[in-house]
Amino acid sequence: MSDFTHDAWSIYIAVITIVSIAACLVLLFGFASRRVSTNDVGTTGHVWDEDIAERNNPLPSWWMWLFVVTVIFSVVYLVLYPGLGSFAGQYGWSSAGQYKDEQAQAAAAYGPILDKFLKQDVKAVAANPEARQMGQRLFLTYCAQCHGSDAGGSRGFPSLKDRDWLYGGEPDAIRASIMEGRNGMMPPMGAAVGGDEDVRDVMHYVFRLGGRSFDGIRATRGKAKFDTVCAACHTEKGTGNAQIGAPNLVDDIWLHGASDVAIMESITKGRKGAMPAHKGFLDEGKVHLLTAYVYGLSK
């Protein structure tokens, strides 16, 4: 509870607080019983700057009692709330507790709405305009930083609206990606493939598989390397494997860049991609809405 390094500091603060409050009362009653003498023009005889004379302008007595009320308030406050050193107060209020209460209130307010959608199938939720709006707001809060406001992604961050899925585009796969996160890993294959020329050969073979313009001689040379080194994950036809997140190489979608340089770098040095897990801070209902929203993006 206490943030003080030593209990003595807590006592030190508490004593200062109590003494200050008591001093306020002493000062108040001290002045209340004091009398000032005024002359026949109603001034006290004190003069500043040649001609500014002080006049006694008595306050109504209820005004003084307002000060007493503030003192009583502060004592009650210090009994109920934290304020006196590390004393927690009778109410046990804390900012962390208040935050939890507010979270609970929000859960109580939005829970029924989320529950309503949670009972429905993802495909049905994706077709619901209200759910899509809620999903979009969640997406803009939690996903847009990497995947872009339009879900179009950018280099290294997959687009979610292009019908190409690294880990599968069915609702369950999308949900798993959001909840558990993903760790994409393409190992550096430079050594396994050979030198730069061998890497270029493999690239041209991939271009042939995907229908991009290619150098026939290089592609033929690259086939053997591809079949032994790359096909294990990307399959012999280069269509990828959603089970392990190996991308499809023949759909002309290049997550890490479509240029020759970028592709050769991907092969030689490998690539890493990480989607963080969200289950720690997004509940099932929100993930359900997000899943439906993302699912609906590419439909």
């Binding site: 002359n39 026949d40 006694n56 007595s61 872009g148 339009d150 179009g152 002309d252």
Partner: protein
């Protein structure tokens, strides 16, 4: 000590020293009823302000309350305009206008606001009227308070407080009716389903009205009100204030109606004390301008009645200026001095701000847009070699009906917005839209370029918003 503060103590050797406490018990004031020109003005202003305050929440406009401050939804309805928090500048403008008007009126006519339009004065006036109806005028009230508790006293006091509390609660109810539609509030009250905050504010505002207008009265002006203090700072010797003409009035003294007071060496003041009896703050205006004077002119009306009865000229106590009294200015001379530099400056500022605010209000677009550029990726390339930037458009339709907007971008040749709309946005709602802006980068300098978004209504091109942003090209 004397060195620390430049303080010197004048020897008050007059022998008239009085010992005073720093606190005192308030002496209750029993203002006497008064009729006259200024009193009629005050009644008119009480009626006008209260008709406005109590009546406005009941008005209906476009099937909703004409005036409603919906704090929960952060929308503020005033007739056919819906203000959003983004329109805060209008409130600022209104406050500046109020402040400048206060400066202007105070410089010209003293504490006019205090005397005629301040809620404290207005409610006190209403409460005093009830008090007079129930307990009688000054002398009767003093007698009632001085007497011991009798059935008559108990009934009158109870009736008075019951009426006061009823008005207080009605005021609190009306006040909350500006924040919750008052008809809904009335239903909630009838079915006993008021929300906790509604209940609190009705009771709080009701109690404040009852306490301030019934019990506190002039103490609010004397001890609590900040305006009362700084208004005196706007006075100058040409400000119209309520003044006792001492040259004409002194020496005061009682005399018979037919007596030739000038022969007796007396002034016009008959020393009847009416001006003191009618004063709601309990001062004697004959002692000159005092900070307690709220400028209500009750003493002017009271004195004029007496002057009429005596057959003397009116205006022994009147609106005049320090200079007019000192130099004996004629009314036209006095009016001419109203238009002095400070007044002209206030008037100029006030008219500039009023015109600006009205023009801004007239030109105010029911469409507001915020453009937020995606920052994580500066740009991306499409497979056909174009460059894309992504933006989030927060489109706020402050109109009460649905609008469809088309989105365009300019600033670079060939900018294309996807989707270009039209986007339908329901009345008085906000929607976030992700848009992609594309361009063929051939011939465009790499780096950042200024672009402009143009969002306009499909049917009504005058409803539009232009927002700046930036576009990155590699």
């Amino acid at each position: 000590m004397a060195r620390a503060a430049p303080l010197k103590v004048i020897d008050a050797a007059g022998g008239n020293d009085v010992e005073e406490s720093l606190y005192e018990v308030r002496k209750k004031i029993y203002p006497r009823a008064v009729q006259g020109w200024f009193a009629r003005w005050r009644i008119a202003l009480v009626a006008a302000t209260q008709l406005l305050f109590y009546g406005l929440p009941w008005l209906t406009w476009n099937a909703r309350p004409a005036v409603l401050f919906d704090l929960g939804a952060r929308k503020f309805y005033i007739f056919n305009i819906v203000f959003w928090p983004q329109d805060f500048i209008f409130l600022t403008g209104l406050l500046v206008i109020s402040a400048l008007s206060l400066f202007l009126f105070t410089a010209v006519g003293g504490r006019l606001f205090c005397g005629y339009a301040c809620p404290q004065t207005v409610y006190t006036e209403i409460f005093m009227w009830i008090e007079r109806k129930v307990e009688g005028d000054r002398a009767q009230r003093m007698k009632l308070d001085g007497g011991s508790l009798s059935a008559n006293k108990a009934v009158r006091k109870a009736l008075k407080h019951a009426l006061w509390i009823a008005i207080g609660l009605w005021t609190g109810f009306t006040f909350v009716g500006y924040f919750t539609p008052i008809k809904t509030l009335a239903t909630e009250l009838a079915t006993w389903t008021l929300g906790p905050w509604e209940t609190f504010w009705i009771l709080f505002y009701g109690f404040a009205t009852y306490g301030n207008a019934g019990w506190m009265r002039e103490q609010v002006c004397k001890y609590m009100c900040p305006y009362a203090r700084f208004q005196s700072a706007m006075f100058d010797p040409d400000t119209l204030i309520i003044t006792y003409d001492a040259q004409r009035g002194e020496p005061r003294g009682s005399r018979g109606k037919s007596a030739d007071y000038k022969a007796k060496g007396l002034g016009a003041c008959v020393d009847c004390g009416i001006c003191v009896q009618v004063c709601p703050t309990g001062i004697d205006i004959r002692r000159g301008l005092q900070y307690e004077c709220i400028g209500c002119a009750a003493c002017v009306d009271g004195c004029n009645q007496v002057m009429d009865k005596m057959g003397y000229a009116r205006g022994l106590i009147r609106y005049s200026t320090e200079n007019a009294i000192k130099r004996g200015l004629t009314p036209p001379q006095l009016i001419k001095r109203i238009f002095r530099p400070r007044v002209l400056v206030y008037m100029t500022l006030l008219s500039i701000i009023v015109c600006t605010l009205l023009a801004t209000l007239y030109l105010r677009s029911p469409l507001k847009v915020d453009v937020i550029r995606d920052r994580a990726a500066l740009m991306r390339e499409t497979r056909d070699g174009k460059v894309e930037n992504i933006y989030r458009l927060q489109i706020m339709n402050t109109d009460e009906r649905m609008h469809s907007y088309v989105i365009k971008a300019s600033g670079l040749q060939g900018l294309q917005v996807v989707p270009a709309g039209p986007v339908a946005i329901a009345g008085a709602t906000t929607q976030s839209i992700a848009v992609t802006v594309q361009i063929d980068p051939a011939g465009i300098k790499p780096g950042s370029h200024n672009i402009m978004f143009h969002i306009e209504d499909k049917e009504q091109p005058s409803v539009r918003a232009d927002e700046k942003s930036r576009f990155f090209v590699k």
